[in-house]
């Protein structure tokens, strides 16, 4: 292990330069982020991820945000274990009816001010699962959504652009 750690000292970092936040996403955010709350929270945001019925593809790419290439935490964005610690809910999936109440309760447990980011095509409009007896559909039908990041699944770059838009709006 010592050798492994030592090699780490000699190599340059893998972490890549940040992308510019996505202009269209910035526009979507519009007034949803009041200046006052920005000042209160600073740039640092705690994110709670909620899988409300995804196929787990989105989760894989959200996970990737933590790897050395993207290193989400350097932007003051980090994943937390409880909605009570969170400023942002990152919601995936076509909100299954079996998860609807759990999502509502997670939203209620998140202290104000808070934002909801819907990740993936399913979270946007139900995706391929829209019209199922078992799905409520878009996340926005269940909780108010501030930002959509589209894709099936959105790659980490798209996720990063979206989240950076959130902190710089």
């Amino acid at each position: 292990m010592r050798k492994f750690l030592f090699q780490g000292l000699l190599r340059g970092p893998l972490t890549e330069r940040a992308q510019a936040p996505d202009e269209t996403l910035l526009a979507e955010l519009g007034g949803s982020l009041a200046q006052a709350s920005r000042r209160r929270l600073g740039r640092s945001l705690s994110i709670r991820q909620v899988d409300a019925g995804s196929c787990n593809g989105c989760e894989l790419e959200i996970h990737a945000l933590n790897n050395a290439f993207y290193d989400l935490e350097r932007f003051g964005l980090r994943f937390v274990a409880s909605p009570r610690h969170a400023d942002v809910l990152l919601v995936t999936g076509p909100v299954t009816k079996n998860m609807r109440e759990a999502l509502e309760r997670t939203y209620a447990a998140t202290p104000d001010p808070k934002w909801v980011v819907a990740v993936g095509d399913c979270a946007f409009d139900g995706g391929v699962f829209a019209d199922s007896y078992a799905c409520a559909g878009a996340v926005s039908k269940v909780v108010p959504v501030d930002l959509h990041i589209r894709g099936c699944p959105p790659d980490p770059e798209a996720l990063l652009k979206g989240l950076l838009a959130l902190v710089s709006a």
Binding site: S54, H63, N67, A68, M99, V128
Partner: protein, 504 residues
């Protein structure tokens, strides 16, 4: 007394079922088949329904043959499989929820997927509207003075899928774990009904996102079998290339995550880098990091270009250099071994009884791999080592995954060396009659079973997709018994069952 094989060949043959015959048998034959399976003469590969009949896919051990048997249930009842063979329990509970078909003698009659929130009962059968406020659910009791319960989920403390775990603990020791799943049930089976082929393929690729390649492959193979489609050689090899890349990506990601759950973040960081490099190479090759929708009925959607070829060679060079380091790092770190050795032991009898697939089964002495049996192209031409252990603990599952990584890397090399030229996709003909097909494909998690019935226009009449997790989730309950609560995340990650795949 008829053997299992003879039973599987009795009854009336259903028409156009490929590659395995499907036979409609009577109640006596059905009961005989169940008895033989419960005695260990064969594996139950799946149990499903089309609303009119209940079907079983069976692997007979003596002949190594797969067969499908069906029983008609005009009065909505059939003899329960699980009353003799418990692995069918959750499948039968799900049948009851979706189709209203009752398994006579089912030991556990509680609903499984239906949480009373759909606003409809029996969505696949004679459905009726209902309330959607949620049903009460009674967990199995664990009695005794010092016991306490710990409810966990459905929303978990991490970036993972939802499910509920109910622990009964005596101090730190888990006395009973009961899982309650179904939270991400999306009704895929019913969405499939009447779907045109391209939409159905997209649905199949989204049953469990981490296995999207394996699901697309299994679905495509089932359709191609039903229609007798000959897939171009180059497509077959490209499919295997994608399947091995997916296997590697998941094994790297999960080994890192397991070590992370044992507080060894160094491995997590390195595995995360390896996984990211791999997904980027996949993106260069096929235009999607998870290779979603790239395997389609009739072939593959994109060809491998020179650029992709070079990206893969670079990836292989990198992986071949680093994997021995990972192996050494894992094997030499005693604080890590301290957590993984002896934790979450799955006994070999259970793995065998449940026909538990993938690395979980192989780490508990069940040497099964769908690439070998029933086997499919191009693996018959591609020799590879099968990981194996009999220890059955978290450590064994990690080692089997390392074995699989060390097997997949040379497989990819061979595929790149021997990749045939030519077409990558062929036309899917219109059947003009009802056809059925099935497939068993080895995903990273284990064998995925897909059964499909196409109508005369070539659209889906019925499609059932059985995730390997159906036979792995129940075993996690057994493996965790006697471990401490704090080791549950570690044990759970070492299984890494799919929520979405089993909830369907």
């Amino acid at each position: 007394m008829m053997s299992l094989r003879e039973t599987m060949r009795s009854g009336r043959e259903a028409r156009h079922s490929k590659p395995w015959p499907r036979r409609v048998i009577d109640q006596t034959g059905w009961l005989r088949a169940i008895r033989e399976i419960s005695k260990g003469q064969g594996d139950l590969l799946s149990l499903w329904s089309d609303g009119a009949e209940v079907h079983m896919a069976i692997l007979d051990h003596e002949s190594s043959e797969i067969g499908l048997v069906s029983i008609e249930c005009p009065d909505g009842r059939f003899p329960s499989v699980s009353h003799l063979h418990p692995p069918a329990m959750r499948l039968e509970r799900a049948l009851q929820d979706i189709y209203g078909i009752a398994a006579k003698g089912l030991p556990d009659r509680r609903p499984w997927l239906d949480h009373g929130r759909w606003g409809v009962r029996r969505p696949g059968g004679n459905s009726e509207a209902s309330e959607h406020f949620g049903d009460a659910y009674e967990f199995l009791p664990a009695e005794g003075a010092p016991l306490h319960q710990i409810p966990v989920g459905p929303v978990h403390a991490g970036i993972i899928e939802p499910g509920h775990f109910r622990f009964s603990a005596n101090g730190e020791l888990v006395v009973r774990l009961e899982e309650r799943l179904g939270y991400v049930h999306k009704g895929i089976e019913q969405l499939m009904v009447g779907a045109p082929l391209d939409r159905a393929a997209r649905l199949a690729g989204r049953v469990s996102g981490d296995s999207t390649v394996a699901y697309s492959l299994a679905f495509a193979q089932a359709v191609e079998s039903a229609l007798g489609v000959e897939v171009p050689q180059r497509a077959i090899w490209l499919r295997a290339l994608m399947a091995e890349l997916e296997r590697l990506a998941n094994h790297f990601g999960d080994i890192g995550a397991i070590c992370n759950d044992a507080s060894f973040s160094l491995m997590h960081a390195h595995c995360g880098i390896m996984r990211e490099r791999l997904l980027r190479a996949a993106n260069v090759c096929f235009g999607h990091r998870l290779m979603m929708d790239k395997i389609v009925p009739g072939g593959v959607a994109v060809d491998l270009t020179g650029e992709g070829y070079i990206a893969l060679l670079a990836l292989l060079r990198h992986a071949n250099k680093l994997v021995p380091n990972f192996v050494r790092l894992y094997g030499d770190t005693t604080s890590l071994q301290d957590r993984t050795v002896g934790a979450g032991i799955l006994r070999a009898e259970l793995a065998r009884q449940y026909a538990c697939g993938g690395f979980i089964g192989r780490a508990s002495g069940r040497a099964f791999d769908a690439r070998r049996l029933p086997g499919y192209a191009p693996y018959s031409d591609l020799p590879f080592e099968l990981g194996a252990s009999t220890e059955g603990d978290v450590d064994a599952r990690v080692w089997v995954r390392f074995d699989e990584i060390r097997a997949s890397l040379p497989l990819i090399e061979q595929i790149l060396d021997r990749l045939p030229d030519g077409e990558i996709r062929t036309e899917i003909p219109r059947p003009n009659e009802t056809r059925e097909g099935a497939a068993l494909v080895e995903g990273f998690r284990g064998d995925i079973f897909v059964w499909v019935r196409l109508d005369a226009t070539g659209a889906i009449d019925r499609c059932y997709l059985r995730d390997p997790s159906w036979f792995q989730w129940p075993l996690l309950e057994a493996a965790i018994e006697g471990n401490i609560v704090a080791d549950f995340p570690l044990c759970n990650k070492s299984f890494n069952c799919s929520y979405s795949g089993q909830d369907l």
